[in-house]
Symmetry: C2
Subunit: 316 residues, 2 copies
Amino acid sequence: MKALYLDNGEALVRQVPKPEPRPGEALIKVLAAGVCSTDLELVRGYMDYRGVLGHEFVGVVHECANDYLRGKRVVGEINCVCHECRYCKLEMPHHCERRTVLGILGRDGAFAEYLTLPEENLHVVPDTLDDDVAVFTEPVAAAFRILEQIDITARDSVVVLGDGKLGQLIAQVLAMRAPNLVCVGRQAWKLALLQARGIRTARADEPLESGASIVVEATGSEAGFARALELLRPEGTLVLKTTIAGASLLPMALPVINEIKIIGSRCGPFRPALEALAMGSVYVEPMVTETYPLAEAAHALQRAASKDTMKVLLRM
Amino acid sequence: MKALYLDNGEALVRQVPKPEPRPGEALIKVLAAGVCSTDLELVRGYMDYRGVLGHEFVGVVHECANDYLRGKRVVGEINCVCHECRYCKLEMPHHCERRTVLGILGRDGAFAEYLTLPEENLHVVPDTLDDDVAVFTEPVAAAFRILEQIDITARDSVVVLGDGKLGQLIAQVLAMRAPNLVCVGRQAWKLALLQARGIRTARADEPLESGASIVVEATGSEAGFARALELLRPEGTLVLKTTIAGASLLPMALPVINEIKIIGSRCGPFRPALEALAMGSVYVEPMVTETYPLAEAAHALQRAASKDTMKVLLRM
């Protein structure tokens, strides 16, 4: 089958063997997939990954032992876990010591005609949800992860740093809880999408009042961390969503003096994400800026790195 | 009066005017004071402080409007606050926007014959407590701050990085809650003090099992942060106690992938600290390695920077 394969820092479409589902796994024919900034970081060398890229997808179950799932349109959680290690037993399966992660760690991903995932990872997609919307389930779930990790109430003042693919989703999800929210970005057309949703925005070069109780760093850049510390009030919470290769030079005295809480945040729950997409409380259609066939996946990745695009999709 | 005065990176004993208490403040005759690593960082340029150094002390109230306090032996909280700014109103007085901090920020400190503090900052010291013990109240309170910020239970596995002045106190305070605790340090004689208290220790060069649920960074060095991340389990908590001048190069992807919680921790509650010292549940006598008169305060500071010392005291 055709797939976008990453090897030695180069991602090229090529023929690879169709994956074979193991016991408990389903073979899924991919319908559409979304390019995430993590895919771009993987090409830059983050995680030393080699294999088929892609972890945001919607597909149809092609082969599987479970009669109910066969033929259903599904999305899938990306962490494949052992249920036996110490972290699985501590009810943190996403942190399984022996996990594989779709298109990120030890498991071929979704920029392909087919992929395999454990049946337990799959969620059936409501018929009302278009493929181009369903494909957002994974990143919307990542935004919902924040609500599992910290309390956010109407009294909080929230700043989301970053108007990109993930920042947009985080701003929409958190705005449901915190009316006092502002999303900070660099590009007028991206901020306009949020304004159309009734979300307050600010340009990154505008002065912004400090004293936020919660700041979410989703800029994908190193500068976001220092900016977040400036904006937070003492005892405020900084949620880190950016995963980038390399290390950052950070002023460590300020978080101690101000007793800041910093929390890393990764994969989240699919159910509330699917619900929010189905209800339209998270609205993603205008975020899709370009769509390519799988054969042009390498070009799609390049386009996704451009400032003119937001979500770039592949249709298989 | 005589005082150890920091100016332009140089700390020298010299004559300075005796401080005048403002309304609501007490004039305190200092009996003894302790040298803290923060004093050494202030000399290195952290905080750009100029004035009398010192914030750990015990003294006698010499002048004050409150009849009850006059003549009493007291210790004092170091943050002097306005009660009116937004952070005071949010019940975070330690983070008052207009605060002065004894010997650290805008207020002359305790390495002097006299100091002033608001009456509300003072706590009367039980008669049973020696001066050399009472002087530890402030750093013991800083250790108790951790218990205000995070839940620690008998099921936690706790690592304290650092066997120095603060690490010793933190290990003793947290061990009351978490029997599964190990303190990691570099010097056998310091670790022996903890072993004598029944606290498990490890040398920094020993391999240590990873998977701690809580790590407290109290090494006073930049290397502690990376080591802490290695030892923590996913979704674990890293408490930062070290305040050092400058910035650190940190790998930021790991805290995100492992969803680590990092929390800065500063000043803490005096009441439980005084109680623990009075009950002997925190035992500090063997930590006092050298004592000097105020006239030799500059030398005392130099000695406090040496690896052969732990708590260096001044007696006025």
